[in-house]
Amino acid sequence: MTLPTGDIEVVTGAHDAVDLDRLDGDAIEGRSPWQISWRRLKRDRAAMVGGAVAVLLVLVAIFSKLIESGFHLDPNATHNNQFHGGLIDPNTGLPLGSFGGMSSHHLLGVEPLSGRDILARIVEGSWVSLLVAFSATLLSNAIGTVLGIVAGYYGGWIDAFISRIMDIFLAFPLLLFAIAISASLQNEAFGLKGLPLHISVLIFVIGFFNWPYMGRIIRGQTISLREREFVAAARGLGARGPYILFKELLPNLVAPILVYSTLLMPSNILFEAALDFLGVGIAPPQSSWGQELAQAVDYYQSDPEYLIVPGVMIFIAVLAFNLFGDGLRDALDPKSASR
């Protein structure tokens, strides 16, 4: 790809006596924008911590089944039968013991009424919450990027048309729509049933209506990029629309796409939690962080630990992605002061 502002590549063959700014004897090398950004990112501690935690959570989500079998965590095993080692007080339904039933066997305690292990349910729930958030982000991105680029580059009536569509989508009362759709597609639709259906519906509802946010940003960036010389140059060389869109403009948009994706992830995690909370997300016995939170809210007075654990998980995930996204934006933005 051609660069709007090219870095000057300095080829050093012979080593001159003078080292310009290096004390360690390295040859002078120019760095690509990616390398510059990566260096800047590495220096941003908060972002690195956020990124590490985010990666850790993603790994937990991907390997959740392995982790469960490895640590003997069963998210669906109930422990509420007092004749078989029950962990629940039959009269109140609350976990026996303190801190919501925490013990060496159940590190984060157990749920009231059913006695299910909370740590197991959190691990099990991680893949649902993150998968839905991820896929919804991907869906928003795909639609938003394509439509944004097309609208920004072509302008004219195409831009007007797509922008009006964006306005319509932005005007939708998103939460109400999400509730309505999720509630009506609960049991069977489009040949899917049960968990795959619920997850697909969640991904669709969250991802499909959020694309204008990405779309607008990309459109704005495209408009500012299309007037640059490199685009004119490419056109002059005979490039047509699609080539320019996908080979010239898109690579320059990767930075904002990446940044806003990492910022969209946490809001999608929260949205999924909200839909579970409202009872239109996934169905029992599948666990998800939002589902756990929803069930725990009723117990906030009698068993607060039940509420704290999934709440903290969601908080950590959202914070991690936010920090990483912030740091990424700072690192990628050439105008922000480099350190």
Binding site: N76, A77, T78, N80, N81, Q82, F83, H84, G86, I88, D89, P90, N91, T92, G93, L94, P112, L113, S114, G115, Q186, N187, E188, K193, G194, G279, A283, P284, P285, D298, Y299, Q301, S302, D303
Partner: protein
């Protein structure tokens, strides 16, 4: 009838003694035997009237976690509506609105006395009180009672919710009566109204429980000129102490005192408040919180609080004093469809009976405060109950080995997939369903939980056999109370072959066992009471031999009454607070 979460049960007089003991009244040991039971404290309303008051100026506020199946007295099958509808619809007889055992006594309401049987119990005659008027001032006549029975029992395409006992019991027209909306030729010949205050029912065969039968809201008069069929619910003409000021589907209703009703006429009821507000679709836990804060007068469903609210109430002395753990007379159970494969095979059904861990399910529902483990169809307080267990498991905790044996016998040794339906707005029921799902998983049966709203559970989903078959729903969460306090009143609608309906079905197992059908029919015609009692027990055993249901809990419900609620007591007839007398100080 169906229970909203709890069932209102009709408890027979014979076993009321046990009931009285279960209500642990807090009389603090005064030696005199004349001291009445304490009128305050935990469980006080089980046996006595709490917070007596003559204040008639309060506003009573009720909330409901879903919508009613219908407030139309001819189209409802939920116990709470049968209780509540007496405020605006007066049936021929009703249950005495007094606390304790006495509330199972039938008293005449619209009629001047209980029915007069003749012709060996095949003809029943009632005389209406004279000069009664509807809320709009028009006179109430016997023809209106006849019309009410015709529209509720003979027009299933318009009204599918309620039971159809009258249709089964009354002598049929030839050709068969097509209902008042299709047949304009003068109605059912087996109900005669020789004059404006006399009504005579001619039955096809003797029916010993007829006075109980007419206590249900289907005999509340409906003026034919004002009947708009399915839309009548939006503008019900009242024959009770209250009339509708407004009604909005899915939102709620407001009732105000009916100026054309008076206690002096001898009708049962009272006008103890100046307004009654009913709000639908409130989330259960927020209803509980509103009750505890005093913002509501009652949870009209009468099915008890959500399990999550239970520890809050039971662990706080002040709140606990406002609660009553009422015996609801209902049975929570899992109905097994005998038509959905592979549960059409008896051994597969027996596998489910052995697999379920009932203790775990009981605790998931809310623990022993919510009910005792059940092993029979009839609860202990219905005449005919005999204690036995067809499918015993150690500590009622399930028997994986036996279940797997049965699975092998039925040809599915590694289990099978099946649907399990439950009501979405009842968190306790979902919790119990999840526990059952976990038990079944242990033997390889993969149950998928399908959730449906209570308001349409019986009309559109679990109670519509076509829907059940097409969605592979083999297991259905259900709760049921007697339609009246005898074995027949409990059993008929849920296990007799001729009660299976296309919509509003209560025989969720679709059981059609000739032995069961015959026993029931013979018994209800038998004038010998002890022979009837024996027969109910036999029917119970046969249904369990057929493994048509898995009995889970003999239900108790934790009800809550705020201090602002006046004249509150539990009626044994419906297993919840009697809505005829409740007022409010706010």
């Amino acid at each position: 009838m169906q229970h909203r979460r709890s069932m209102s049960g009709m408890i027979t007089l014979a076993v009321i003694g046990a009931l009285a003991l279960s209500a642990c009244s807090s009389s603090k040991g005064s030696g005199s035997s004349n001291t009445p039971a304490a009128k305050t404290g935990y469980n006080a309303a089980n046996t006595s009237l709490v917070n007596a008051s003559t204040n008639k100026n309060g506003t009573v506020k009720y909330a409901l976690s879903s919508t009613p199946d219908s407030l139309d007295p001819g189209n409802t099958y939920y116990a709470w509506v049968w209780d509540f509808s007496r405020l605006y619809a007066s049936p021929l007889t009703t249950f005495k609105p007094v606390p304790g055992n006495d509330s199972l006594t039938l008293v005449p309401n619209l009629a001047t006395s209980l029915g007069v049987p003749s012709d060996g119990g095949k003809t029943w005659t009632y005389h209406l009180r004279p000069n009664l008027k509807y809320s709009d001032g028009s006179p109430i006549t016997a023809a209106d009672v006849k019309y009410a029975v015709e529209r509720s029992n003979y027009a299933p395409d318009v009204f599918s919710n309620g039971p159809t006992y009258f249709n089964a019991v009354l002598a049929q027209n030839t050709p068969a009566y097509a209902g008042p909306y299709k047949d304009k030729t003068g109605g059912l010949k087996s109900i005669e109204t020789p004059d404006a205050t006399t009504i005579v029912f001619h039955l096809a065969s003797a029916f010993a429980d007829f006075d109980y039968l007419v206590s249900n809201p289907q005999t509340a008069p409906v003026p034919q000129a004002k009947d708009t069929g399915a839309n009548y619910v939006k503008n019900i003409i009242s024959s009770g102490p209250y009339e509708f000021k407004s009604y909005t589907d899915s939102r709620g209703a407001v009732l105000v005192p009916n100026p054309n009703w008076s206690a002096a006429s001898g009708l049962v009821g009272a006008q103890n408040s100046k307004e009654i507000d009913l709000t639908f679709n409130q989330e259960q836990v927020s209803i509980d919180n509103d009750l505890m804060a005093g913002n509501l007068t009652g949870d009209v469903a009468g099915a008890g609080t959500a399990a999550a609210s239970q520890p809050k109430i039971l662990n706080d002395a002040t709140l606990k004093a406002n609660a009553d753990d009422a015996l609801s007379g209902a049975l929570s159970y899992v109905a097994m469809s005998t038509k959905v494969k592979p549960l059409d095979n008896l051994d597969c059904r027996k596998a489910v009976e052995y697999a379920i861990d009932k203790v775990s399910a009981q605790n998931a529902y809310g623990g022993p405060n919510r009910g005792d483990i059940a092993t029979t169809v009839l609860p202990p307080n219905v005449v005919g109950y005999t204690k036995y267990d067809d499918y015993p498991t150690p500590s009622n905790s399930g028997d994986v080995a036996k279940a797997k044996d049965e699975l092998t016998k039925c040809g599915h040794p590694s289990g099978f997939d099946i649907g399990l339906s439950a009501r979405a707005d009842r968190p306790n029921e979902i919790s119990m369903a999840t526990s059952i799902q976990a038990s079944l998983k242990k033997v390889g049966i993969n149950a998928t939980i399908q959730q449906y709203p209570s308001g349409k559970y019986f009309s559109d989903f679990a109670g519509a056999p076509a829907f059940v078959h097409s969605h592979n729903i083999g297991l259905i969460m259900m709760a049921w109370a007697a339609d009246w306090p005898t074995g027949y009143g409990f059993l008929d609608q849920i296990i007799a072959g001729d009660t299976i309906k296309a919509s509003g079905n209560s025989n969720l197992s679709e059981l059609n066992d000739p032995t069961v059908n015959q026993l029931l029919q013979q018994a209800i015609q038998n004038t010998d009471a002890s022979a009837r009692v024996k027969a109910w027990g036999q029917v119970d055993k046969q249904v369990m031999d057929d493994a048509a249901i898995v009995p889970m809990l003999y239900r108790k419900d934790l009800l809550y009454r705020p201090p602002s609620a006046t004249n509150v007591f539990v009626t044994a007839a419906y297993g919840m607070y009697d809505y005829l007398t409740i007022g409010s100080t706010s």
